[in-house]
Amino acid sequence: MTYLSWLFSAENWAGGADNPGIAQRLVEHLGYTALTLVIALVIALPLGAWIGHSGRGGFLVVGIANALRALPTLGLLVLLFLAVGLGLLGPLIALVILAVPPLLAGTYSGVANVDPQIVDAAKGMGMRGREVLFKVELPNALPLIIGGVRSALLQIISTATIAAYVGLGGLGRFILDGLSQRDFPQMIGGSILVALLAIVADVVLGGLQKLLVSPGLQERSAASKPGRLRLIRGGADTGASRAA
C-alpha cells in the first residue's frame, strides 16, 4: 500500500509552480495523443479507403504494416531527437509513424474485405464508385476501421510515455523522474496512471464501436470467423501489433 501513497496525495495532483502535477501531465499526455491521432487519421483514412476501394497496392499496405511492427519506437524517437532537436516535432513524427500502419491496415482490410455480393448489389442498384465507397463500403468496414483506431490509440498512449525520455512532458515524466530520484512510489503511480488511461481509452472506443456500427453488422462481424483468420494470415490484422 505504501506504493500507492504517491498516487493518492492531493498535493501531487495539483503540483506546484516549478513541478507540474498529475492533472497537468494528464492533460499533456491526452494532448499529444489527440494531436497524433488526428494527424494519423488524416493521412491513413483516405489512403486506406482508396487502396481498399480500388484494390491497388494492397500488398504494399500489408508489407509496410508488417515491416514497421519491428521498428523500435525508442530508437526512432532518439534518432529524430538527434536530427531535429528538442521540441514536440520529433516525438510527434515518431508517434505518427507508429500510428499510421494500424489505421491504414484497418481501413484497407475493412474496405477490401466487404462482401463482394454487397458491393455488386450496390452497383446493381445504380450506385457509382464514390457512392459505393461512402454509403456501402465504409459503413461495412467500420468495425475493422475502429479496430485499427483502437490499436493505434493504445500504441500512441503507450509510446507517449517513452517520449518523456527525449524531453517531452506527459505521464512518462513521473516514471523517469521517479527513476532518477529513486522515488519508486512516483514511478509506480505514473505507471498505474498510464495503464488506467490506456484501459479507459480502449473501453470508450469499444463503447463507441457499439454505438456507431449498425446492429446487423455487429452480429455478423462476431460470427464471421473465416474473415478473421484470413486477416491474420494476410498479416494485416489490426489488433495484433504491440508498440511500447
Binding site: 519491428a70 521498428l71 523500435p72 530508437g75 510515455t161 514511478m187 495503464a195 491474420i232 494470415r233 511500447a244
Partner: protein, 221 residues
Amino acid sequence: MDWVFRNSSLVLELTGQHIVFSLVPVLIGLVLAVPLGWLANRTRIGRSLTLNIAGFLYTLPSLALFVFLPPIIGTRILDPLNVIVALSVYVLALLVRTVADALNSIPSTVVNSATAMGYRPGRRFLTVELPLAVPVILAGLRVAAVSSISLVTVGSVIGFGGLGKMFTEGFQREIPQETISGIVLVLLLAIVVDGLLLLAGRALTPWDRPARTRRTAGTAS
C-alpha cells in the same frame, strides 16, 4: 557500420541479451497459450473469460508493466525477470486468442472422422487438431516474436540491457551512428527470427506445401 566493428564485443553482448530477453518470453507464452487456447474453446464462459482477460492484459503499456510488476512478483525493479515476465504476458495474451481461433476453425468433419477412427480426445488433440492449427498459430507467433523483439528496447529507458541500450547510449553521448546501428540490428534480428519461424512452419506442415512439390510427387507415382 564502422561503429559496429569498432565496438563488436559490446554489440555481441547486447545482441545476446536481446535474444534472451525477447525469445524466452515467446517460448513461455507459446507453451502456456496452447492449453489455455484449448480451454477457451471448451465452454462459452471460458472463452469470454479467457479472451477478455487476454485483451485486458494486452492493453497495458509495456513501460508501465515493467515498472509495476516488481511489487507484484516480488523482484527488484531492474531484475531482468521483469522484462521476461512482462513480455511473456503479452505473447500469451496475443497467442491465446490465436490458438483459440485456430482450433475453432478446424472443420468439425475432420474432428468427427478422427473420433470415428478411434482417436481418444488427448491423442486426437495432439496428432490431429494441433497440427492442423499450426499455420494459424504460426502466423500469430511471428507477430508475437517480432513485436517482442521490438518491445525489449523499451526497457532500456529504465536501464535494462539489450540492443535498446544502444539507443539510450547513443542519445546520452549524442552518437547517431550508435542509435542507427541499434535500429538496424533490431530490424535484422526481427527479420531473421521471422524467417526462421516461417521455415519451421513449413517443416511442420508438409501437407501445406505449394502446388509445385505436390505436382512432382504426382508425376513420380
